[in-house]
């Protein structure tokens, strides 16, 4: 079965790398088909950014963008209205927020985690801005059985060798533990 995942963030938050890391985690989980790609507009900090990932047991031949995702990641609450577009009826929305899933009135399953708070507490910043990709990915194993937490933390450590990887993997674990879900 193929899972399609879409990331909604702003330039500099790490949405493109998040898609790449999830795809690498998929590979570590033994998936034959993994694919991750960004949709760039003008490349500038702060502009809305979309990134995509597909994970499948079989090789993936599809080369188009994702219109009806199984999962969407929302890096900031105001992006919810864009993220919900096309999300499957039984799809999951993973939101970076201090709020609880019950605080949202949305026609989908919801997972929340305070990825910004966790990134800041681990000093994960670039140019003064929190980079939340490693944190928010921690919520994914809570809502998708196919990918385990250790696949994601390993992908993070492979991507950033040394202490940077360890810090990011730690933030990922914290976010995993802090994730709340509502089906």
């Amino acid at each position: 079965m193929m899972y399609e995942i879409r990331f909604h963030g702003r330039g500099g938050q790490g949405a493109v790398t998040a898609a790449a890391l999830l795809c690498r985690a998929g590979f570590l989980a033994g998936k034959k088909g993994v694919q991750a790609f960004p949709l760039f507009g003008a490349e500038r900090r702060g502009a809305p950014v979309k990134a995509f990932a597909r994970i499948d047991d079989e090789e993936i031949v599809l080369a188009s963008q994702i219109y009806e995702p199984d999962y969407v990641f929302v890096f900031e609450e105001w992006l919810i209205e864009y993220a919900i577009e096309g999300l499957k009826k039984d799809g999951w929305m993973i939101i970076n927020t201090k709020k609880k899933p019950e605080d949202f009135d949305l026609d989908c399953k919801i997972a929340t985690t305070d990825a910004t708070g966790i990134a800041l507490s681990n000093n994960l910043k670039v140019a003064g801005f929190p980079v939340i990709n490693s944190s928010i990915l921690g919520a994914f194993p809570k809502v998708c059985e196919e990918i385990k937490l250790e696949h994601i933390t390993q992908a993070i450590k492979n991507y950033w060798p040394g202490d940077i990887g360890k810090n990011n993997a730690h933030a990922c674990e914290q976010a995993f533990n802090a994730t709340e879900v509502k089906e």
Partner: protein
Amino acid sequence: MILGISGDEAVALAAKQCNVDVVAAYPITPQTIIVEKFSEYVANGETQAEYVRVESEHSAMSACVGASARGARTFTATSSQGLMLMHEILYVASGMRLPIVMANVNRAISSPINIHADHADSMAVRDSGWIQLSCVDAQEAYDTTIMAFKIAEETLLPVMVLLDGFVISHTLQNVSTLSDEQILNFIGNERKSENILDPENPKTFGAMVLPDYYSEIKMQQIEAMDESKKVIENTFKEFGDLTGRRYPLVESYKTDDAEHILLCMGSAFGTAKVVVDDMRAEGKKVGVSRVKCYRPFAGNEVREAIKNAKSVGVADRVAPFGSYPPLYLDTKASCDGINLKSFVYGLGGRDVNKDTIKEVFDRLEKGVDEMFVGVRE
């Protein structure tokens, strides 16, 4: 080894493993990762290649011409405006019979400025005497870059490897790689050349040729291009024997009994295969073919692939001005008597998705003769 890498990274890795001597390149989106990655290899001492930083693409190709004429295995990469700036020197490279390999990451041409996938750039230089091999994904970009060196050095023609901007260049996927040893056994450790500049054995390259000989020189180049098809086929076959990954000049999917066929190039082929499966599940007899070997144009193979269809949609990713687009024209010239319709989609990175492909098949079924797909009124 299987690596999770993008199309650009796959091309850079392949060029490094092919033991290139000289890379002269200028960065341009979406090709940038190729030259960034390669300069990283040089800085880390992972290759002995000389990386020449130049001030423009015109200079990049000029430096490649010089290096290749001296006998170096030479590689570069570009996109869009960069390829346009090289235009003049592309003909010098092919006219001097220099086996340069270049990756062109297909991107739209300004104006208006746009960084996304479109075939206008490589199509604008299709008659510059370079072999052009098109790719569907990162794996194929890796494989084709390796094969390109063997083809170039056997034919003494430069080879352009084409991959769609972002859709292939920036898409991370699993790429099965070969060992350096496997690759060098396949293409040869070093470039074997007699046709080089050598002070011990002086020759003149690219000299002035007047009307009394120009036609004959061009005929030699034309014949070399025609004959390169055999070398390309043999190289594809040998590579298939080595890796199990077989590339035909024209690849087809479920076309044998197809009533309607889409003929395309590049990354759209993958998505089209999914649509063909979906439509076949509804009982519709459709299929898709794609041209891998665009120069020399694999016309016989195209005709063979599509000849039994009721209608064939030839889809170009190029804006045609005042005539039909290039893939259609090439196909038309090779497929007398076959019912062909010209379609244009995916300009400037407009997503070629399942709906786009379905629309082409729907128009073919209904006999609607309307060229542009997915364009707002």
